[in-house]
Assembly symmetry: C2
Homo-oligomer: 215 residues x 2
């Protein structure tokens, strides 16, 4: 039988995002010595929606056991595998100013297997230096360096006006996944996955509730 390209349902991006959240919840439960948990208890403990949890997980298989719920460690390992967190991802950090430097030292990336393998910055003061053993290279060396280090993901932390030219260089170098911290609208080809991080969105949830309380 021919393999159908439609065999898997399209998985919403919000489902992927929630898998990351579930993984963190399961990590906490594991730290707390919890062995099994029902979807109801999981939902209650972390303010999730239990129907949503079941629906999200159902895209990937049948993880619950009747009368027991989920095995915490087993489900965590499964989700990590699904998210590609069972391996290390060498990452390029592009831009080594304030934000780039903060992201370089951000502990959360390495803990999930994202290792910054190369830093890219065109400041002549920085090129050729190393930071914690990681070389800083100029953007014109991008193509060669990314290939040599097997980098498939780039984190963009350059000023807004540099974001598009640098993105074009990354795309030309074969990068298919970009996490953009620059407050700029970027154009990429259809086969490149671009995620935009907007830090002020989180603040807006807070101001919503403050404004609501003041009304």
């Amino acid at each position: 039988m021919a393999r159908s390209p439609y065999r898997l349902p399209k998985i919403p991006e919000m489902t992927i995002r929630r898998l990351s959240v579930y993984t963190r919840c399961l990590l906490q439960l594991e730290e707390d010595g919890v062995k099994t948990i029902s979807s109801q208890d999981l939902a209650e403990r972390f303010s999730l929606n239990s129907a949503q949890v079941r629906k999200d997980l159902a895209y990937f298989g049948e993880f619950g056991v009747r009368g027991i719920g989920y095995y915490v460690s087993g489900l965590k390992a499964e989700l990590q595998r699904i998210l590609g967190l069972d391996r290390e991802w060498p990452v390029a950090l592009v831009g080594f100013g304030n934000l780039g430097s903060a992201l370089f030292h951000y502990k959360g990336f390495a803990r999930q297997g994202f290792r910054i393998a190369i830093v890219v910055d065109d400041d002549p003061e920085k090129i050729g230096r190393q930071v914690d053993g990681v070389p800083i290279v100029a953007s014109r060396e991008l193509g060669r360096e990314l290939k040599a280090r097997g980098v498939q993901i780039a984190i963009l932390a350059v000023p807004p006006e540099a974001a598009q030219p640098v993105t074009d260089q990354l795309v030309a170098a074969g990068i298919k996944s970009i996490l953009n911290f620059a407050p700029a609208r970027l154009r990429v080809p259809r086969d490149v996955r671009l995620k935009h991080v907007d830090l002020s969105i989180e603040l807006e949830t807070l101001s919503f509730y403050l404004a609501k309380g003041a009304r």
Copy 2:
């Protein structure tokens, strides 16, 4: 008739988050000179779900006009008002290391009306100095300074081991909204709203697709 406490449906936090996203989409449309848009076109253009858009907006009123759709500028202004973005919020930035410094210079906050009014750091080298006109104060001065400046929101960018003690100080000083960038689990009283920002979640959506492609 007595005012019922149940008169408004509970609004899911994801709805609030999506209002922020819609506001950004409407801003882009406004910049591009678009005057009106249907929920279908809005959804298509920004990869949203049109039923979700209508459901989210329905919590707050009837914004669509039959045969026209939404008025871009009008809806944008309404959503900004709902999100509390029609006013300025003085914010305290706690921690002025790498990440704190990056957040201080992050353009996205000010653009949405979040103005860093005070920086808190216990480094004796930093206390008493100013950064771009904003004073740096010690954490023991928190209570007085936050009150004097009308600060209701704090951004936490301290090392993980300092996060809980600093949070306790913020809570004691009357802060009810905290945006936490420290990779640490924090305990707060029930009336304090704590949002945790985990920058690696965004990377995990990318690794999911890369891992999926490699399978």
